[in-house]
Amino acid sequence: MTAARSVADNELLIVRTFDAPASVVFSLWSSAEHMKRWMGPKNFTCPEMAIDLRVGGSYRGMIKSAEHGENWFRGVYREIVQDRRLVFTFAWENEGPSAGLETLVTITFEERDGKTVQTFHQAPFRDVERRNSHVGGWSEAFDKQAAYAEKVARGA
């Protein structure tokens, strides 16, 4: 039933196959110079892109068109698995219906016979909130573990 499905459908999923190995497709996301060449819809250019590719590092870019002017976007990298998986937050800085609404983008790259299946998923901000609290929980546990290990090493 279309209506019921659209009710549940608050996430975006786009699967595309590209004629290149996963290492190349991954690099199109992880290098600012590459990203400038394709980011943005038809009739847009991407003249600005800066990437700090590490977990917790951020990126910021701008796309522009004659009709829509400059549009800035930014986000923070959450997970990076070279050539396999990339997770980052995404938000528009400009005014508009989704201004300030942070979303979580998850992309996986799967190589098959020299081609790459790219699975792109974008979901609203709530998931980020949940993920953050989870990360907080683990890192606290790791801090405790490290402190304990030091204590053991000192022979306490």
Binding site: M1, A3, A4, S6, V7, A8, D9, N10, L12, I14, R16, F18, D19, A20, V24, V25, L28, H34, R37, W38, M39, G40, P41, K42, P97, S98, A99, G100, L101, E102, Q118, F120, Q122, P124, F125, R126, D127
Partner: protein, 119 residues
């Protein structure tokens, strides 16, 4: 932070029970008892979900004190749908450009190979 209308709608939609309630209301108006029937949760729990949906403007409730039937308000869902379709177009078209760029890269690599062979 994040008190724009779309965020309120999304946090209301972030729960599977609430999405199921909305899907049920697509069929038409229903009372709290009717809504609670398919779920294995208590009536007060269903009432709490309905309050969240009502506050987000996703449903409205009748005035009759006894029944207060719930009704789906499509306006907010339409906003979600618009949001999704704008993003869908944004990425679909970006990926078209990505595919074209990959073709360019592949062609460049082929040309390089040919040049090297000629040398």
């Amino acid at each position: 932070m994040m008190h724009d209308p779309l965020s309120t709608t999304f946090s209301a939609l972030a729960d599977p029970t609430r999405r199921a309630i909305l899907a049920q209301l697509v069929q038409g108006e229903a009372t709290v008892n009717e809504i609670a029937r398919p779920f294995r949760i208590s009536l007060p729990a269903v009432s709490r979900h309905l309050k969240v949906l009502e506050r987000a403007g996703l449903i409205s409730r009748g005035r009759e004190a006894q029944w207060r039937p719930c009704k789906l308000e499509v306006q907010k869902l339409r906003a979600v749908d618009d949001w999704l379709s704008v993003y869908r177009r944004f990425w679909e078209e970006s990926f078209d450009r990505m595919a074209a760029y990959i073709d360019e890269l592949n062609k460049g690599a082929d040309d390089d190979r040919r040049k090297k062979r000629r040398r």
